[in-house]
Amino acid sequence: MHSLPEIWNAQTQQKNYRSLLNAMSRPGTCFPVWGCNSQSSVIAVLAALLDNAVTLADPDYLISDENIKLLQVRTALLHEADFVVALGETSPATHITPKLGTLTSPQDSATVILTVQNLSAGECELIVNGPGVNGEKKAMISGLDALWLQLRQEWNRDFPLGCDFILVSQQQVLALPRTSMAEFA
């Protein structure tokens, strides 16, 4: 019988959720993605969070049709999706804004998941502060276009409206919730 890779296992998804919760609680700190030996880590992150109750936009075609079926997720346009997955190294389209929520329902906003090359030994220093950070946190990142951070700042200007970012490298994850201030040194 054909068995699915480890990331579709409930136990692995629980561990990956813990990493995501830790990452969202402690912005700028890297946490491991589990079970991604044969699958890309971004699929592992999506598998921990997505199901048929939410929608996904994939403008860079990072997720195969087979994985979309396994995730049981519905696809949507970028400005309507609950989750957006995109390449961090390419410049984002500046004319499309992901869902930012409303004043009374700020949770009805997109989570933007970006794939990057490296989160702990890259060439660019990302400085993060805000809730969850004791003072200031620095992360060495490669493969993230600076325009993402500029747009993020614009999208998160009117708290509580905004969107939350999750950066995923080959084996690690780092989050930037809307309350975090993040900029390259």
């Binding site: 136990q11 402690r26 969070l49 997505l50 949770q107 809730p131 509580p160 809307r178 309350t179």
Partner: protein, 288 residues
């Protein structure tokens, strides 16, 4: 058919997990979620229980407390249920040994660490409910960070009683925006929320809301510059701090009892693990 790990099905867990991530990303905001039916009545900690079940994994160590005690009916029932449905986890009564602490009405006296999670069971999540019956209007006030009516309520207390009379569920502003009901913890515990090292998750099962206080985030009780917030003081008429009858601690939140034989008022630590640790420390000093 066997029950899934953690009783809840994976779809339910994912929905709670998504709500938790949004709750952490928007500190203090009450994220609505589809609270599931649990095999116990709503109001018995089903909100906290669902948070724990979606978070816990094999290898974790769990502590469950009710008003500081590990051996009350509510704590024992919840702990037994989680042990039964989560094979591979361990349980403890020691705060220091726990990865996840689910609590009702107290935050442990021992300062929590970065690698620990505190889950609080919440009966009423919205502090504005005492001044505004419409949820729609409350959501607008929360979004705008407008708590003027709540401040008027506190001011009325001062006019009438010369102090703010809220003893527990004291409204607390998180990250300078949302005001939360921090669950029925005493005032004594509120300073522990401020810049806590551990992530604090709050779950209201009956009201179907999840909210969070991320680590290193401000949690400031509402107060006035000329009437500052103050915690309970356990001093007698002469100003001497009462001590725990068991361990002698003068550093903990105390429960008040009446000695049935002498009729004397006595005090004991509310946090059972803290009390035991102080006793063991005292014994160790005595014997060696």
């Amino acid at each position: 058919m066997t029950e899934p790990f953690g009783y809840l099905d994976e779809h339910a867990k994912k929905e709670i997990r998504r709500a938790c991530l949004k709750a952490v990303a928007i500190p203090g905001y009450q994220v609505p979620y589809a609270s599931r039916e649990m095999p116990m009545g709503r109001g018995f900690g089903t909100g906290g229980l669902q948070l724990t079940l979606s978070l816990i994994g094999a290898g974790d160590t769990l502590k469950v407390i009710d008003q500081g005690a590990d051996d009350s009916v509510n704590a024992v029932s919840l702990r037994n249920f989680i042990e039964l449905t989560c094979p591979g986890i361990s349980t403890t009564t020691r705060t220091t040994d726990a990865d996840i602490i689910q609590s009702r009405h107290r935050i442990p006296e021992l300062a929590l660490r970065e690698d620990q999670y505190l889950i609080l069971q919440v009966p009423y999540p919205d502090p504005l409910v005492i001044v505004e019956p419409s949820e729609e209007k409350r959501r607008i006030s929360h979004g705008e960070g407008d708590y003027s009516r709540l401040l008027v309520k506190l001011y009325e207390d001062i006019v009438q009683f010369k102090e703010i009379t809220i003893s527990h569920r004291y409204p607390t502003r998180i990250n300078n925006h949302y005001v939360i009901d921090p669950s029925p913890i005493p005032r004594w515990d509120l300073p522990k929320m401020h810049h806590s090292k551990a992530l604090i998750l709050l779950g209201a099962g009956r009201e179907k809301k999840i909210y969070a206080v991320p680590p290193y985030t401000s949690a400031e009780p509402l107060a006035f510059s000329d009437v500052p917030f103050r915690i309970e003081n356990f001093c007698d008429a002469l100003g001497k701090r009462q001590a725990c009858e068991n361990c002698g601690s003068t550093q903990s939140f105390l429960d008040e009892y009446f000695d049935t034989h002498s009729g004397r008022k006595i005090y004991r630590c509310s946090d059972a693990d803290w009390c035991l640790e102080q006793l063991q420390r005292r014994d160790a000093l005595r014997h060696g």
